[in-house]
Symmetry: none
Subunit: 139 residues, 2 copies
DNA sequence: TCTTGTATTGTACTAATTGTATCATTGTGT
DNA sequence: ACACAATGATACAATTAGTACAATACAAGA
């Protein structure tokens, strides 16, 4: 299937934490195209076995990448390269991704029979709700 | 001819459980009118085969919809869209569906690092583009 | 018509596989 | 010796898959 063989090279004496090395190398492989959005990474246990480390160490590396929005970890399913690369990768990509996301959203809403006015109104409403929720938290 | 082709689109990397995606999309298609009261849905096994998932996953989606009185599952017969979905429920479903769709969209955009302002601006832009395209067609 | 065998349907329960959370242990630098 | 970061161990939770079962439909034969 979409299973990738990562062939990571760990240096146990480099001073860099294992989880950092794992995270760095996965990120590198994404940057130079060895990994692509949507690819499934090995499970934490499988990669840990291969690297002869504890699976929590792999999990920690995955968590770092997850927090950086580079991968998406899903309990019970697996971990995957994020479909849309993180914004900071490229500003051009960034605006294009919002455009595509928006078009998909609008397209789906219209396909479901909602009017443009309804869509626009709902977006305003939900953004407002969100802002109010934020204000709540600050208190 | 009781067979409906649902043409569901699953995203295995979206973070949403498969069963949720199935349930949501069936609900959408009901709201949208692609499915009507009395329609028979594919059997859990048939849909599972088509979607390449385990039939229990489909069964779970059906159970959720069944509990919401949206469909009626009958052992040994099949599953059907509920005959009389009260109009107010239907309208409620409708607005909830746009709400959920919108929240998902906004959530994803923000998660990608876009600001609320950017999101709102982009929605306005794309709706405008769409409207202008419509006007073109009329001429 | 009635009976009966078989296929088809959803259900229930369990297992397997995934990532998560928490705390213990180890190791290193001061 | 101590402090702290890194790693390991263990238990947990979420999702999906596997297996056996029960209800229904339906066609064939008496």
């Amino acid at each position: 299937m979409t299973e990738k063989n990562l062939t990571l090279q760990l240096d146990f004496h480099s001073g860099l934490p294992i989880y950092t090395q794992i995270a760095n190398q996965i990120q590198s492989q994404l940057v130079n195209g060895l990994l692509k959005p949507g690819d499934q990474l090995p499970t934490v246990r499988a990669l840990a076995l291969e690297l002869r480390v504890n699976f929590n160490t792999v999990a920690r590396a995955y968590r770092i990448l997850d927090e950086a929005r580079i991968i998406s970890t899903q309990q019970g399913r697996g971990t995957f390269i994020t479909e849309i690369p993180p914004p900071e990768v490229s500003e051009k990509l960034r605006s294009e991704s919002l455009l595509e996301l928006t078009d998909r959203f609008i397209g789906e809403a219209l396909r479901l029979g909602f009017s443009e006015r309804e869509v626009s109104q709902m977006v305003r409403d939900r953004l407002k709700v969100r802002k109010e929720a934020e204000r709540q938290e600050e208190e």
